[in-house]
């Protein structure tokens, strides 16, 4: 007698579940898609690409995504020659590159770099000229930049770091960097080094700034996520994905995913500022 209503209610529940799922997930754009996306290029992009790839491949095993590094130059070369589907760059493409290969760029995040000191340090403002002199070893005492009489402990990043590249190009103007400064290998260890040492100065991604270190105002620019996004803070670069010609359906789905809310969450988790549509 009541078998019919029960079946109906189960069917109703199933339908509800499916619909509910479909509305909730950003990943649904990958339903029914199939194929491979090969990604190469900028190393700063790798954590974002990896997390997105993991989510997508778990959701739809028919899609395979490989992520490789190589640097921005390699990214352009590989996508241009058709060796990969998406080539990542940490800089805008030059006109020559665009014309030669017919590349299309998709900026998706801002990578801002802040200069930071220990919260105990009384210095909270520096000019880019002073920072240049500190990192070249010309200024070695905090009293020369308005602080206490104590030696400056400068920390830098490794050769492969995109953060170092932005800092070196945009703030030091590719100037000389002293050989003897300590090198740390990640944003995390930079934070630990600065938080522990009251005489330290270093630089790290704006997304990594927290209470135990103090971001310095540079040339009257306040390093915050908002200012980096609006362009008021200048020590930034955009991170781009590039495709050769217009993206295929699968590539487009991937790019849309990165630019969507899930992508924004991943981008923030990796320490960058999302450029949502």
């Amino acid at each position: 007698m009541y078998r019919v209503p029960m079946v109906a209610s189960i069917m109703f529940m199933c339908a509800f579940l499916i619909v509910g799922n479909a509305q909730g997930s950003e990943l649904d754009r990958f339903i029914g898609l199939k194929g491979t996306i090969d990604i190469a290029g900028g190393t700063a992009h790798i954590p974002v690409m990896n997390d997105a790839a993991k989510n997508i491949m778990k959701f739809n095993p028919d899609i395979r995504i490989t992520v490789a590094g190589g640097g921005s130059g390699v990214g352009v070369q590989k996508v241009g020659e058709g060796l990969v589907n998406i080539g990542n760059t940490g800089r805008a493409l030059s006109d020559a590159e665009k014309n030669k290969y017919g590349l299309v760029s998709f900026p998706f995040a801002v990578d801002g770099v802040a200069v930071a000191v220990n919260p105990k340090n009384s210095v909270s403002e520096l000019s880019s000229q002073q920072i240049k002199k500190i990192f070249s070893g010309e200024i070695v005492n905090w009293k020369d930049v308005g602080g206490a009489d104590a030696a400056i402990h400068a920390f830098g990043r490794d050769e492969a770091s995109g953060t170092r590249e932005v800092f070196w190009e945009k703030l030091l103007g590719k100037g000389d960097v002293a050989q003897s400064i300590n090198i740390v290998s990640s944003n995390g260890s930079m934070k630990v080094a600065i938080a522990q040492d009251s005489q330290a100065i270093g630089y790290l991604g704006i997304g990594h700034i927290s209470d135990n270190i103090k971001a310095v105002v540079v040339d009257n620019m306040v390093p915050t996520q908002e200012n980096a996004k609006s362009g008021d803070y200048k020590v930034v670069r955009n991170l781009y994905m590039n495709t050769r010609g217009q993206p295929s359906a699968l590539e487009q789905a991937f790019i849309d995913y990165i630019l969507g809310p899930d992508g924004a969450e991943i981008i923030e988790k990796s320490g960058y500022i999302p450029l949502s549509r």
């Binding site: 590094g69 640097g71 030696a151 050769e159 492969a160 090198i183 740390v184 040492d197």
Partner: protein, 291 residues
Amino acid sequence: MIEKWIERALFSSALLCSLCVTAVFGFLLYFSWPLFLDARGLANVFSWVWKPFAGQFGILPMMAGTFSLALLALGIAYPLAIGIASFTHGLAPARITKTVLGLVYFMTSIPTVIYGFVSVFILVPLFRDYFDRGTGFCLMVSAITLAILIVPTIMIALKTEMNQRSEEVCMGARSLGLTPAQELLWVLLPCSGRGLVIAAILGFGRAVGDTLVALMVAGNAPVIPHSLLDPIRTLTSHIALVVATDSQDQAYYSIFAAGLMLFLIMAGLTMVIRNLGNRFGQGKKRHDIPS
């Protein structure tokens, strides 16, 4: 029939192992080959200045860093290890011996990253505040950390040798009326020459090969240290720091050269150990025949 198959299985695994090692060496040589063909490039890599963005790719400061760190760590760890091995060899009460040995064996199972981590939060600030020179990330701190890491390696190698020798000589020593301390100092340690050398080389090899301690606490500045409080960069941490760069870059080739150097150092050490083992081994046989 079964024996034959076991023999074959063992032979093929041995063959596979040696093939792997040869392949690693081959690949290292293959990848760093472009460097050897270009005399200017070679001179560039074996120079004293590492400024990759100015086209200077010298890895000699890293060689200096590796050797000064490994030697210093060995200098700290070796006496400690000999002390522990001797102390636990009949000098200490049984219960203390057991505790100390248990502790040393336990130390071998602590991951390297823990040592590095503890060092960053305890030794580095201590050195920075006490000496007021530099950041505290320096040669001395990494040598101390590394020494703690290699003490068990050295001690266990030495202890194994001492246990073997002890069986041979303890009866004679006791019957001469030697106290345990006298036996250790005048009989056992001089008899364990091979063990003393092998333990030192093993410890040195471990110190040269370790990456994480140096990467975390040595400061990584590619300069030649002039003081114990100067930062250094080792070959291993150099590879770890540079491996993520653009693979088209010449900086990338320099890490193959660094890898090749490490491989050659380790191979040289292994050869010394084998050579010593054979020599002492023969000596022992000759000694054994009359008895």
